[in-house]
């Protein structure tokens, strides 16, 4: 049942959904690594939801993504003084 540690299917791939689009990962990665993989240049301006739950920044490095996880990068929208 626990796919976290047995995610190495023959191909070694696991699929996650990032902002509604599926992404294949070739090895287990942490949320922090996923953020880097997705070229999020300003992580301070992003709030991360994992399967609909807010994730604290301090936990990005320690959370390993599982097959089927849904990650949403929610952008802080604003700035300047409009």
């Amino acid at each position: 049942m626990d796919k976290t540690h047995s995610a190495k299917s023959p191909s070694g791939d696991l699929g996650v959904t990032v902002n509604g689009k599926s992404q294949e990962l070739h090895k287990p990665v942490s949320l922090a690594e996923l953020i880097a993989l997705n070229n999020i240049t300003q992580p301070d301006m992003v709030s991360v939801q994992l399967n609909g739950e807010f994730v604290y920044k301090e936990d990005y490095a320690s959370i390993t993504l599982k097959d089927g996880d849904e990650v949403d990068f929610l952008y802080f929208m604003g700035g300047g003084n409009l």
């Binding site: 902002n19 301006m45 939801q49 949403d72 929610l74 604003g78 700035g79 300047g80």
Partner: protein, 271 residues
């Protein structure tokens, strides 16, 4: 409420809507809505709510109209430059629809005045574009049990969600403001003027839906769009037990004035 013949004609396109009808229009006409910010978002919101005949529209903004505002803040005209935004907005609303009672607050929303001001309103619209006030509106509305519409725009993007007590609040998604130095400054930011209209009209529609009880509000969902691709996306959310203000162990129990990123664009006349 008895509508005059002119009012029946004025609001006929609402009254014709099966879901709205005379009853719905009465709810709109009895509605009291506070628009925070008479800028890019507040302008279309206030215009559409005025046209719809919202009975009382409160507008809070401490700024004066700047020439650089006119590219998107459609409630202000060229001759309004240097005029307080709330006065300029009130004048246009009165001309568009004399049925509307406009209450102006020529000041900033702060931790001091927020609860007292929102108390008088049924629904609050966040038309600001700075995070300290966005969080202030969220916290004040959660604490006071008031529904509100969140809206944010940047460059070609827009984002909005609706809160009613019991649904996910802004802090459920964004626990705390971004560090001020990470927020794009005025000169870096920029926005396509029409994006403000796209988002503001969504917020106005949500307000009218709330007042009339028609349809499903944008609650427990965050709607984002990008005007370059015209992709709209809705992300499901839910109230977070860990939320600092609406969660099971709230740490935010009174209003906070967060540090504001300084706007140093040279052509802004602050004084």
């Amino acid at each position: 409420m008895d509508f005059s013949e002119d009012q029946i004609i004025r609001y006929s396109r609402h009254i014709l809507l099966q879901d709205v009808g005379v009853e719905g229009q009465e709810k709109i006409s009895n509605g009291k809505v506070l628009v925070v910010g008479a800028g890019g978002l507040g302008a279309p919101v206030a215009f559409y709510l005025a046209a719809a005949g919202v009975g009382t529209i409160g507008i809070i903004d401490g700024d004066v109209v700047d020439l650089s505002n006119l590219q998107r803040q459609i409630i202000h005209f060229t001759e309004d430059v240097n005029k307080p935004k709330v006065i300029s907005a009130k004048e246009k609303i009165n001309r568009l629809n004399p049925d509307v009672n406009v209450i102006t607050y020529q000041e900033l929303l702060t931790s001091e005045n927020a609860l007292a001001i929102i108390e008088d309103y049924d629904f609050i619209v966040d038309g600001t574009d700075n995070f300290p006030v966005k969080f202030l509106i969220n916290d004040a509305c959660v604490i006071a049990g008031k529904p509100f519409s969140h809206g944010g725009i940047l460059r070609f993007d827009g984002q909005t969600m609706t809160y009613v007590p019991g649904t996910a609040c802004y802090r459920c998604l964004f626990h705390s403001p971004p560090p001020p130095n990470a927020v794009p400054t005025c000169s870096q930011a920029g926005v396509l003027g029409a994006v403000a209209g796209m988002l503001g009209t969504i917020q106005a529609a949500e307000t009218l839906k709330y007042l009339t009880g028609v349809g499903e509000l944008l609650t427990n969902r965050l709607l984002s769009f990008n005007a370059k691709t015209m992709d709209f996306r809705t992300v499901g959310t839910r109230p977070s037990a860990k939320c600092p203000v609406c969660g099971s162990h709230p740490t935010v129990t009174q209003l906070i004035d967060y540090e504001q990123a300084v706007c140093d664009i040279s052509n802004r006349k602050k004084h």
